[in-house]
């Protein structure tokens, strides 16, 4: 069965880097992309992905608000925050919003794969 993963980041560069990292995943994956929190909320409701890789600093709606919005109507949603913001307070806010994991940019492809595998298996 193919896993559906949604990448949410306003930076085209990061979306490309994450897609490239996911090419190392052993199983079947289909990848969806959104570039704002608002787009992510709409696409999640439409596609119900198995896992979301979510940036925080984005136009229209930030990733923490998008995470909270998605988790309010989908309590089992698996969302991993991928952000350059490394403050403890931001990690706490992300977890309180419903995020399952947090990875700080810049990241290595192996880190991304490990975190994706762990959360898909959970």
């Amino acid at each position: 069965m193919a896993h559906k993963i949604m990448i949410v980041d306003d930076a085209m560069y990061i979306r490309a880097v994450l897609k490239k990292a996911l090419e190392g995943f052993a199983g079947n994956l289909s990848v969806l992309e959104a570039s704002t929190g608002k787009e992510a909320v709409a696409l999640f409701e439409q596609e119900k992905p198995d896992l979301v890789l979510m940036d925080i600093t984005m136009p229209e709606m930030d990733g923490i608000t998008a995470t909270a919005t998605i988790c309010a109507s989908n309590p089992g949603a698996k969302i991993v925050i991928c952000s350059a913001l490394g403050q403890q307070q931001m990690v706490i806010d992300a977890v309180n919003a419903g995020a399952k994991d947090y990875i700080t940019k810049p990241f290595q492809p192996d880190q991304v794969l490990e975190i994706v595998k762990r959360n898909l298996a959970a």
């Binding site: 306003d10 930076a11 085209m12 560069y13 990061i14 490309a16 600093t57 984005m58 136009p59 952000s83 350059a84 913001l85 490394g86 403050q87 403890q88 307070q89 931001m90 700080t104 940019k105 810049p106």
Partner: protein, 161 residues
């Protein structure tokens, strides 16, 4: 607003710039001499990324560089040489500024200054004037790929000292 720039705001950006440039561009950065910009007007370089900071510390951080330097950094970030500075290259340079500023906020938080950042904006071309609220401290980051000039114009938000 407390209209003064504090030297303690600078080190988190230097540490973060070194760490991010080493990791994403395999660069060997060194810090050049620190200076204070006279006045509050910044004139853009060939490529300038701009990020706003809000929270206990507020203001703007600008990253200026030559186009050649940007092309060399992006080539490293993408793992292949680039022949034109397209939308992907612009995104990579904007993200570089985002990563340096985002990582620096962890250092600011460790000093008691919790803050957030805005999405980056990119200014192409020399000569655009950008006015900041406080004079910027200028930190040149010297690498074999070229120099990145960080202009840090931050101050304590009103009543948050």
């Amino acid at each position: 607003m407390n209209n003064s720039m504090r030297i303690e705001f600078v080190q988190p950006f230097v540490d973060s710039a070194f760490s991010v440039l080493r990791e994403v561009a395999q660069a060997k950065p060194q810090r050049g001499p620190l200076s204070l910009r006279t006045g509050t007007t910044f004139t853009s370089q060939e490529l300038t990324s701009l990020i706003g900071v809000t929270g206990k510390v507020e203001g703007v951080v600008l990253y200026g560089m030559s186009l050649i330097c940007a092309q060399k950094i992006v080539s490293k970030m993408l793992g292949m040489p680039i022949t034109e500075f397209d939308e992907m290259a612009s995104s990579a340079i904007a993200e570089l500024a985002n990563m340096i500023t985002g990582n620096a906020t962890a250092g600011l938080e460790a000093n008691g200054f919790v803050c957030d950042i805005t999405p980056p904006s990119l200014v192409h071309g020399i000569g655009t004037q950008i006015t900041t609220t406080v004079p910027a401290l200028i930190v040149p980051i010297i690498t074999e790929l070229g120099d990145v000039e960080i202009n840090i114009s931050l101050s304590l938000a009103n009543g948050k000292d």
